[in-house]
Amino acid sequence: MDYAVEIHNLAFRHKDGTVALRGVTMKVKKGSKTAILGHNGAGKSTLLFHLNGIYLPQQGSVKILGVEVNRKNEKLVRKMVGLVFQDPDDQVFSPTVWDDVAFGPANFGLPREEIEIRVKEALRAVVMEEFADKMPFHLSYGQRKRVAIAGVLAVKPEILVLDEPHAFLDPKSKENLFDILEKENQDGRTVIIATHDVDFAYEWADEIVVMKEGRVLAQGGTEVLCREEIIKGAGLEFPKVVRFFNRIHGLKVEKAPKTIDEAAELVNKLLKNIPQRD
């Protein structure tokens, strides 16, 4: 099996003494859509920073596409893993959208012509082409988020990592983000997100990692989010669709639906099987 990310016994303590990770071991398959869930302070963001080489392992190891993350190859790792920060204002700082998207490719020493092509492609991917000459501070929060994603896509990383991508987004922007992530994954990229949004994770991801207090509580398919002991242990809540089916007494379904559409289809099917009364 090919793995995009292999983490073994990773531990990390912040400068102020807070222990953020306590022996995390996990693997992410190449080309997968992985959601890392956990409450605030579970260590999700610290873990993501290790994937991009911003934080280097204090204990244990992190391998990206077979390359061990250390000081010698952190630049290579940053080329392989694109990290989108939670707050676009932390990431988007250039005077124009174009400049900001070009920032990454320029740092990696690409020639001007190649940068222009990549910026165009990245802005097209997030549907922000017409805003290339705008000042990022004058865009909406959702648009700035898309610029932040474009800035990472322009580097053409093999792994795309997003920290809380849904934070403060309106429903329409969430939908746009969903489409962008789907497309990137279909193009062969491994996509990893850290989120609180169990509904999104349940619907979108094919791999789930649940974290609690710097440790991995569970890892597996989306069925992880149907297990009560994990959900309660991590301080999360069941996805809405799962909650709905859990409340119907006596109903046993082979596989819980993942989306509202699937749930509606299942309910319709069950209703058809109920004998009609005159």
Binding site: F49, N52, I54, K75, R78, K79, G82, L83, F85, D87, D89, D90, Q91, F93, S94, P95, T96, D99, A102, F103, G104, A106, N107, F108, R112, I115, M135, F137, H138, G151, V152, V155
Partner: protein, 252 residues
Amino acid sequence: MRMEFYPEEKDYFFKKTDGRVKLVSAIFSIAALSTIRTWEYLAACLGFYIFLLCLTGFPVLKWMRRIFFPVLFAGAMSAAAAFANFYAGRQYAGIDGAVLFLRALCAIVVLSSVIYSMSFRELVFSLKVLHVPDVLVNLIGFTIRYANILTDELSRMKKARKARGYSKGRNFWHTATMKVIGQTVAVLFLRSYERSERVYQAMLSRGYGGDIRLLSAPARPGKKDFAFGALMAGVPLFFKVAEMGAFSWIMR
């Protein structure tokens, strides 16, 4: 609240002039101005700059609002220096104060008008071309870029205070108000520090290694640019030479 860095006016001659030339001539002008000791010559230089700005279509009124506080500060400092000299029993303390103020005013006019007329990209490029150290260019760049975010944060904090019934005291001696202002400034500093850490991490994550790469270079400055730059720097130099008595020597 948004701080506009980019002037939104139409193109005008002063704006179209090459940024590198404008910056270099501003540096020479300020160097010459700071050595002139005759208040009449300084006033003449000031008049010339204002005339030049008006002549080249510079949005003088808008720009004047922006330089209000620096001018106020320069005035206060010059007045303080004049009073100190007066009490020390020095002759012409008032004229010295006026000279100091005029020098500061001329420097503010020259530098602020040059910066006001440049886009952010042009400013960074000009500084790089002039071999200003990267650290300084980064510092200037981030100050401008994050002024918006800091003012936004400050305005959010103000709103949150208002929402909880806070209102300012009527005078400077209102201790509760002073305490709140002090706390706000402290929190703003802490937030800025934390944000700067996050910004740096975000830059590192996209391969930043400490140097700025210039992606596009503006065209070489033309004759018009050089002529304009020479005029800007030439006038204070002319007055400096006059002050040194060069013309009396010629007249002889």
